[in-house]
């Protein structure tokens, strides 16, 4: 729904377009486009206008409470925050090695989380753009429209998400914001009843995942115009395992440049402060991380499915590995830089999750009852890093001698994609808005670019959000000449 809309030029001929709020993303964002007198995009900014301050108010709390405190950052990926914090808490409790069952339960939980989050993002939020077209009728361009016209696709997406949530419920007791992790382990085993129930549906989930992947491969191979949409070259950052394969739960950091050449590899994530820096800009609550080695101009990078599939040497499950090879072939064996290929990579990961879940459920240790490791000497710093659905997630906590948090630093996946989202907006704005009348369809092109990253602005500013988009058009002097506010419906108000 567009709340306000106007278009006029200033005396200097420059204009400012603002999309506010952005829809079908997690959180509340605002885009500002600054046009010069020739109607060229001078600058594009994605403003994150929410602030929560989790890093501050976690201070003073006992360290073992942290995983359940910080999981409230998000209602979509709380498991990611719980697991990243739990890994940090393991270190704080002096635990280096979990029991095999606890490790497998955490991995199963993480696969379930990524499966449900990716399914939610593609089917509920993004599939309407691809199935109906970026500029199609906004009344239909939503999950309800997909349900009406493509009921099989929509229902498969809904069921895939449900399955991921059932895994979360089986392990944490609730589909959203359960418990589960303990310092050095897990708080309950997976019951045989749950295991049987999950196994009963896994073949369907595998088939739906293959269908979703095939749909994405078709979207990209049959629509070459998508290749140039918001396309730009970038560095990529992700975790990989010891062999260089795709890894979500635990591994070393790998950064590659736009040609696919490693900038660093198998870097211990506990040393992240030596390789990453965060820049603060006055107009956004979201920081701008960059690779210290390359500086803030050239060191920004992308994270998430595209980065992970580009960076890894292999995927450990056969169907996803075959899909990765097709993806690499599409990119000429180098990194795929197409922003919309995020969706494709996301569905490769969905298939990997489904295969991995099947593998873990057939592992008899998954129902073991040896769940916690012995605590060791407590440490004063704990750093947990995982691959959340949206990308690499850093949790870093410092405690005092009494186990009370004195400092916390969170680098959330969406934060890492901050500069990249700005670049995508600028690219799309130059292609679609420059010199044109501002329409809802054109604004949705901007949203499609941002949406590809599956940004969670609530997580990134550590905010409780609706999902709106605000776009403003500014003249060269910073005066507002045009503003659009959308709330997710289809109604347009001037």
């Amino acid at each position: 729904m567009t709340d306000s809309k106007s278009s006029k030029s200033t005396a200097t001929g420059t204009r400012r377009i603002a999309i506010d709020p952005i829809t079908r993303i997690e959180g509340h964002g605002k885009i500002t486009l600054m046009l010069d007198s020739d109607n060229h995009i001078q600058e594009a900014r994605l403003h994150i206008v929410e602030f929560r301050g989790f890093e501050k108010f976690i201070q003073g709390r006992p360290y073992w409470e942290v995983p359940f405190f910080v999981q409230r950052l998000c209602g979509i990926c709380p498991v990611s925050h719980q697991l990243a914090a739990a890994k940090a808490v393991d270190q704080l409790a002096g635990i280096n090695q979990l029991t095999p069952t606890a490790t497998k339960l955490r991995r199963l939980l993480h696969f379930g989380q990524i499966l449900q989050s990716h399914a939610l993002h593609f089917f509920h939020l993004s599939s309407p753009d691809f199935l109906f077209g970026f500029g199609s009728d906004p009344m239909r361009r939503n999950i309800a429209g997909v349900l009406e016209k493509y009921p099989d696709i929509a229902m498969q997406g809904i069921k895939m998400r449900k399955y991921g949530q059932q895994i979360i419920e089986a392990i944490t007791g609730k589909r959203v914001h359960g418990t589960g992790t303990l310092p050095g382990g897990m708080n309950r085993p997976l019951s045989q009843t749950w295991r049987d129930a999950l196994l009963a549906d896994i073949e369907n989930v595998l088939q739906w995942s293959k269908n979703a992947l095939r749909l994405n491969e078709q979207i990209h191979t049959e629509h070459p115009e998508h290749a140039d949409f918001a396309m730009f070259h970038s560095n990529y950052l992700s975790l990989v395992d010891d062999t260089g394969a795709l890894e979500f739960y635990h591994g070393g950091l790998r950064a590659c440049d736009s040609g696919g050449t490693p900038i660093f590899d198998h870097q211990d994530y506990c040393d992240y402060r030596q390789i990453l820096r965060e820049e603060v800009r006055a107009w956004s609550y979201m920081k701008f991380p960059y690779l210290q080695q390359l500086g803030n101009d050239r060191g920004w990078y992308r994270v998430g499915p595209l980065a992970r599939v580009n960076n890894c040497d292999a995927i450990t499950t056969p169907l996803a590995e075959a899909a990765r090879r097709r993806f690499k072939a599409f990119g000429g064996e180098g990194p795929v830089h197409n922003t919309l290929a995020y969706h494709w990579a996301r569905m490769i990961e969905v298939l990997h999750c489904a295969e991995s879940i099947q593998h873990l459920l057939h592992d008899n240790e998954i129902t073991g009852t040896d769940l916690t490791a012995e605590k060791g000497d407590r440490r004063q710093q704990g750093i947990g890093v995982i691959e959340a659905p949206r990308g690499t997630l850093f949790h870093d906590y410092t405690v005092n001698d009494e186990g009370i948090i004195t400092k916390a630093n969170l680098i959330v996946s969406t934060t890492s994609n901050n500069q990249a989202m700005n670049e995508s907006i600028r690219s799309v704005a130059n292609q679609y808005l420059d010199g044109h009348e501002i329409t809802e369809a054109l604004l949705n092109h901007l949203e499609v670019a941002v949406r590809a990253y599956d940004p969670c602005l609530s997580c990134a500013t550590h905010a409780l959000g609706k999902m709106p988009l605000q776009v403003e058009l500014l003249d060269a002097e910073g005066k507002l000449v045009h503003r659009l506010v959308k709330h997710g419906g289809a109604e347009t108000r001037v």
Binding site: P62, T172, G173, H177, G180, L182, N187, E402
Partner: protein, 251 residues
């Protein structure tokens, strides 16, 4: 009730919400009610400890007079009203006040699911806090190796004070100050729990109805759906609560 009906009641009985309830000499209204499985909401009462009448949730009307059931002796022929809309509304308000006076953030509190204040909120149908939050910033005492004291969650029920003094025989805790300035203190020169002789096995370390006194690093070890109030209402658990008796100690 008519005079004739009153005469029919046994000399050692009262009525609670119209139900005849026998009592032994010296029993309180609360004791008599619990003995016949009638629940009168309470937070600061724990059978086996001397009642204190602190939380005021057990306020009932006895012969038309407002009294705290936990500290008022039952008297023959007493007519007690407890489960009435008016009294339950008052209990709800008291519970809401207890919530806003401290930092009871259930989503991140490890006592959640095992917390009597939270369970009371559910029992009374509390849907919001109603009053403005105090957002206190009281000192958290993490100086002890096995017991943690988070004063922001203390509801001043004084159960820990009585348990430590009367059962553990250690006298670790006390309530200092009055009214809005009342606060839980530790009876050591430093005022720190770490300098006290409290142990994790002590009743005082385990009896806290909220998340103010916790055994350290147990974290969320009770899985969701297996916590006390996932399985039972507070009105059910109250029927079996009692401090360990000597015969329990003998095993």
């Amino acid at each position: 009730m008519t005079n004739e009906a009153n005469k029919a009641i046994d000399a050692n009985s009262i009525t609670i919400d119209g139900e005849t309830v026998p009592f032994d000499a010296g029993q309180t209204i609360m004791d008599a009610a619990l003995a016949v499985k009638i629940y009168i909401p309470h937070l600061c009462h724990y059978p086996g400890l001397t009642p204190a009448g602190n939380c005021r949730l057990c306020m009932v009307e006895a012969n038309g007079k407002s009294v705290a059931a936990c500290v008022t002796q039952a008297q023959s022929g007493q007519q007690v009203s407890s489960n009435t809309p008016e009294l339950n509304a008052a209990r709800l308000s008291i519970t809401q006040m207890l919530f806003v006076e401290g930092n009871h953030i259930c989503p991140s509190c490890e006592k959640s699911g095992n917390c009597r204040l939270q369970a009371m909120g559910y029992y009374l149908g509390m849907l919001e806090e109603h009053f403005h939050q105090f957002n206190p910033r009281r000192e958290i005492d993490a100086s002890h190796s096995t017991v943690l004291l988070d004063r922001d969650r203390c509801i001043l029920c004084d159960l820990c004070v009585r348990a430590s003094r009367d059962v553990d025989k250690k006298n670790v805790f006390a309530i200092a100050g009055r009214g809005i300035h009342a606060r839980l203190i530790v009876n050591t020169a430093s005022g720190k729990l770490g300098d006290s002789n409290i142990e994790a096995k002590d009743l005082a370390a385990k009896i806290c109805p909220v998340g103010a006194i916790l055994i350290r690093e147990r974290s969320f070890d009770s899985p969701v759906a297996e916590r006390i109030y996932d399985r039972q209402s507070i009105s059910d658990t109250a029927m079996t609560e009692h401090v360990p008796r000597k015969e329990d100690d003998r095993g």
